[in-house]
Amino acid sequence: MAFRVQRLPSSTPMIAFAARVIAVVLALLVTALILAVSGHDPVDLAGQVFSSSLLDSFGLQDLGVIFIPLMLTGLSVAVAQQIGAWNIGAEGQFYAGAFAATAIGLFVPAPEWLGLILMVIGGFAAGAIWILVPTLAKAYADVSELISTLLLNFVAALMVYYVATGPWHDRMTNSATPKVKAEIPEFWGAIHWGFPIAILFAIVLALVLSNTKWGYEVRLSGSNPSAAKYAGIPVRRHLITVMLLSGAIAGFAGMLEVAGTVHRLQGGISNNYGYIGIMVAVLARGSLVGVIFAGAFMAFIQNSGIILQTEGLTTSAVLAMTGLILFLTAIGEELSYYRITRDKV
């Protein structure tokens, strides 16, 4: 009697989900261990996090406020994955959307409702423009989008930092622009209407992908481009459309952050949301509806980091933990292809 480990050609959703749960639990345990070693009481900290984020109405509102940009950047990355592309540049597109929204909010004289509409359009457009060069380079010259999208993050961050502290800066703060007049109305407490809109957005996109001809073509192109070409699908056109859509969604997230939460543009407004969005998409395993839940979970992790700041921990520690979750998830995903079977010898 012997056991044998075998790698199967595919994994099942159930096992992949279980692998993710195990990865997350392991990452949390490792983090707790490190906290314990460095003189904190992990159980006490966990208690604090739970009571102040989940059992408290203000805590839940904070969670919701972080959830909106995270879910949308996650959606952005997951949408690009449908066509087989990695959008590592959601961070930059987020900045670009925030930048455009602020420009419109500050300098376009319009009634508030019209201003908001223009800001939405501007956010979408700026995000799409920010991913345009990497998209065309991938579509026409086969240049990997991994690095090209990422490099533009730094450019966007520098640009926003420059206008927020330079030409557009507010004389009172010096590190941010003046307040943008147009505001997205509140939905519940501090949470603005971007919350239901973002969720609806994900659901509608998921439905479009699974129930339209276009969605079928996109999914096939993403899964195997040569099979899609064989079926007569214009793969390149879909690649361009979907990548631009991905950028637009991240730009929209940046616009919402300005118009709904921060109300002004400041350096670092994106808060690593673009990078954590990758984590959200990976946890969701390419499912657009899954992004909603993965986004909620990552919002909880990020919010914990903010709560723990009072305990002398930094958001950097949360970044490191996010990396650890991603690392273990990647390993878990691979291991979910393996089965242990028992020989009948």
Partner: protein, 311 residues
């Protein structure tokens, strides 16, 4: 004259970070593994360099410690990607997040603190007196010679003029063929991914011990990603990687000179130059140098895990 001397000297100094990290990435990619964790490895290396030099007052020990930390993180990454065969892109991104986050968390107590000892320029008698180029070529810190001379020449020799180098390249081109020829694919991949990561750690320490030289949260500032991009531009060759680093050093140096001389461009825009330049450098060659594509092509098995006993 001073302008050119200053530009060249700074270009060598600034390019060293990118060159060292890019050479490390060449090693990993030549055996078929994309390591997108360079940014995080450099952050850990930079912090390790500062921490070790603060404790020992020896920049050499600081550099060696950074190599070791890079190797340790690299070995963890190699375990995940080579042994377990987890997705290389995800593991690399995770390594970047972990390295950056961890370095920033631990590094708070070192923030803004200048290095207590650094790698100082050593003027080579006579040669350093040559007009214009003397200072740039012959009055530099010792690492410059390691990065631009010893490593590129040594590694090029190893890769293209030894039996072992041929085996190593075969692993990145066709692991199944290498395996059938009796070459241990996993061992070679593990070794070079780890070695490449060590160099990335060293590049971080170079930044904080020879170039900047102090630690702050954003000190790496995307240099790890530029290094990864340079490898494509350099056609996966150590010598070309060093030269590409130097080229980018020149772009950076131009930015410095611009700031120092008060060119009418906002510093933020000058700072954008390396990123935009890199973007151009990975797009333009593909379009412009069609004929060079085969010689500069990526290893055929780049990014693909190798399974032997599965069909």
């Amino acid at each position: 004259m001073d302008l050119i001397t200053g530009l060249l000297t700074t270009a060598f100094l600034a390019g060293g970070v990118l060159a060292l990290a890019a050479i490390g990435e060449v090693l990993a990619e030549r055996v078929g593994v994309v390591n997108l964790g360079v940014e995080g490895l450099m952050a850990m290396g930079a912090l390790t360099g500062i921490a070790a030099v603060t404790a020992t007052h020896s920049p050499v020990l600081g550099f060696l410690a950074a190599l070791a930390v890079g190797a340790i993180f690299g070995a963890v990454f190699a375990f995940a990607t080579v042994m377990v065969k987890a997705n290389q892109v995800l593991c690399g991104l995770a390594l970047t997040l972990m390295g950056t986050g961890l370095a920033q968390t631990i590094g708070r107590s070192y923030s803004g603190m200048p290095a207590v000892a650094t790698f100082e320029p050593i003027a080579i008698p006579l040669l350093s007196g040559i007009p214009i180029i003397g200072k740039a070529f012959f009055s530099q810190n010792i690492l410059i010679y390691l990065i631009y001379l010893i490593l590129p020449i040594g590694l090029s020799y190893l890769m293209f003029f030894t039996r072992h180098g041929m085996n190593m390249r075969a692993v990145g081109e066709n692991p199944a063929a290498a395996d059938a020829a009796g070459i241990s694919v996993n061992k070679i991949r593990f070794m070079y991914v780890t070695a490449g990561a060590a160099l990335a750690g060293g590049a971080g320490a170079y930044l904080t011990l020879a170039f900047v030289p102090s630690w702050s949260d954003g000190v790496i500032a995307g240099r790890g990603w530029i290094a990864v991009a340079l490898v494509i531009f350099a056609g996966y060759r150590p010598g070309m990687a060093a030269l590409s680093g130097l080229l980018f050093g020149l772009i950076t140096a131009l930015g410095f000179v611009g700031q120092a001389r008060g060119w009418p461009i906002a510093p933020a825009f000058l700072s954008m130059l390396p990123y935009l330049g890199t973007l151009g450098f990975i797009i333009v060659p593909v379009i412009a140098w069609q004929k060079m594509r085969r010689a500069m092509a990526a290893p055929a098995a780049l990014g693909e895990p190798y399974y032997r006993n599965v069909r």
